[in-house]
């Protein structure tokens, strides 16, 4: 994300059982990870449980996490694990989040995040939000169902009564467009 080398260093210290390093990593990611998980499970208690489990896993398996190069970054790994844990929770509960709860009254937009990292992260997030907003409605929907709500291709097809091939092509087009947008951004230095 913003400081992959710093994250790597923290992970190595965490592998060496350095409490402070885990706290530092937590401080870096508390808000974005919580927000992401909350977006998936739509339940503050559940979101906290998932974050809890994520950091439990980081603490206990930091030495086994191989990142860097084609393995991806620490942050990529963390978000992937968080997403899997959130999907586990959703499946265990046998329920799916209600789209309409998205704008719950008690949900407050985060304030006062002022570190350089947080600002950059927010900028990237907003840019991505905008890029997603520019996708057509069909593409936005499949991206939401699959990535943010954790449905599989088959589940989307049967739940929404859309042919498998159509789900697949919408995903392909969506990612292709997002990539084009961000490849362009990368050249201008806005990416990474």
């Amino acid at each position: 994300m913003q400081d992959p080398a710093g994250d790597e260093r923290l992970m190595r210290r965490i592998a060496g059982r350095d409490n402070e390093a885990l706290e530092a990593l937590y401080d870096r990611y508390e808000r974005p990870v919580y927000s992401f998980v909350f977006r998936m499970v739509k339940d503050p208690m559940a979101a906290e449980e998932v974050v809890q489990e994520l950091f439990m896993r980081i603490w206990h398996s930091a030495e086994r996490v191989h990142t860097g190069g084609s393995q991806g970054k620490v942050s990529t790994w963390m978000f992937a694990v968080a997403r899997n844990l959130a999907i586990d929770w959703l499946r265990k509960k046998g329920r799916r989040p209600q789209e309409t709860q998205e704008e719950a009254a008690w949900e407050r937009v985060a304030d006062g995040v002022s570190t350089e990292q947080a600002v950059e992260r927010r900028m990237l997030g907003e840019e991505m939000q905008q890029a997603i907003g520019d996708l057509n409605e069909d593409q936005q929907q499949v991206l939401n169902w699959i990535y943010f709500l954790g449905y599989t291709q088959q589940e989307v097809a049967s739940r929404e009564n859309i042919p498998l091939g159509t789900v697949k092509s919408r995903v392909r087009l969506a990612l292709k467009q997002l990539r084009k947008r961000f490849d362009h951004g990368r050249k201008e230095g806005a990416w990474q």
Binding site: S35, F36, F38, E48, F79, A80, K92, L124, V171, R172
Partner: protein, 277 residues
């Protein structure tokens, strides 16, 4: 094959995490040998670093950091964490307030595992389906097995004639120092026979035709218990042990050049002695 599945078309769904386990495994096997898809995955990966940021940022609950950190640093053993501990305490307590007798909880847990095993047994011919089921139920199973083991340990002969018995739960240790994998082997007995459930994570990445193979050994003689592939280093296998071959003393997982071997050719990744329960 009637319709040849063009795996290259699955690359975006794979990256996004939208493939069913069966397709995911098939795609990973494909990925190992498809230069085009490897390149695509590499190029799509950075999107996954930004996608999770594209959500409304919300304030975490008050005091979350303190709670999370306290729990993490308090629990040195995540496998038998707070849930299992709580179950032991509950089991030691007298019947609960509403008069529900203690054994009910035990049967309920047992029932859950029985149902799962029964579900798996139905698919005994189709490994891929089992692996998918295993994956879905992995976390749940881990918790259940841990709970069940605790329950069995403390309420021992209560349900001896019941339909299912967890014979043994062993954690698998890495074969060499440079391997970081870990795993859990659960041996379960029910009326249909003896079942072996393997779950492993942080396994080394597979190349080309490589596969992990599970072996049951008696006096150094290995018998194959099947092969499995992995996703993000995590894999699972379910195997029914014939009654006549249940006297094994060791279980081992090797990294094999392909899934066709009758005897181990590759290095041992994980292993553990099987002491009888």
């Amino acid at each position: 094959m009637m319709a040849q599945h063009n795996r290259c078309e699955d690359v975006e769904l794979y990256v996004l995490g939208g493939l069913e386990q069966e397709d995911r495994l098939a795609f990973e096997a494909h990925l190992a040998s498809c230069v085009h898809c490897k390149k695509e995955v590499d190029e799509l990966m950075p999107l996954l670093d930004t996608l999770p940021l594209a959500v409304q940022q919300v304030d975490p609950p008050e005091g979350m950091k303190d709670r999370v950190m306290a729990r993490v640093f308090d629990n040195s053993k995540p496998e038998l964490g707070t849930v299992a501990k709580r179950r032991i305490q509950e089991a030691e307590e007298p019947p609960s307030r509403d008069g529900e007798p203690a054994p009910t909880r035990f049967r309920w847990l047992t029932g859950g595992l029985v149902a799962m095993i029964a579900g798996l047994a139905v698919f005994s011919g189709a490994m891929v389906s089992e692996v998918r089921k295993m994956d879905d139920q992995n976390a749940q199973l881990n918790a259940q097995v841990a709970d069940l083991k605790q329950q069995l340990a403390i309420s021992a002969p209560t349900d001896a004639t019941g339909p299912l018995q967890v014979e043994n739960v062993v954690s698998l240790d890495a074969g060499t120092a440079d391997i970081v994998a870990r795993g859990l082997a659960t041996i379960v007995i029910d009326s249909a026979g003896t079942h072996l459930i393997i779950q492993a994570e942080q396994l080394p990445a597979l190349q080309n035709e490589e596969a992990f193979q599970v072996w049951l050994l008696k006096d150094g003689q290995p018998a194959s218990a099947g092969t499995f592939l992995t996703h993000d280093g995590t894999g699972a296998l379910y195997h029914t042990i014939a009654a006549a071959e249940s006297e094994y003393d060791t279980i081992a997982i090797t990294l094999e050049p392909d899934a066709q071997g009758n005897e181990p050719r590759g290095p041992i990744v994980l292993s553990a002695p099987l002491t009888s329960a």
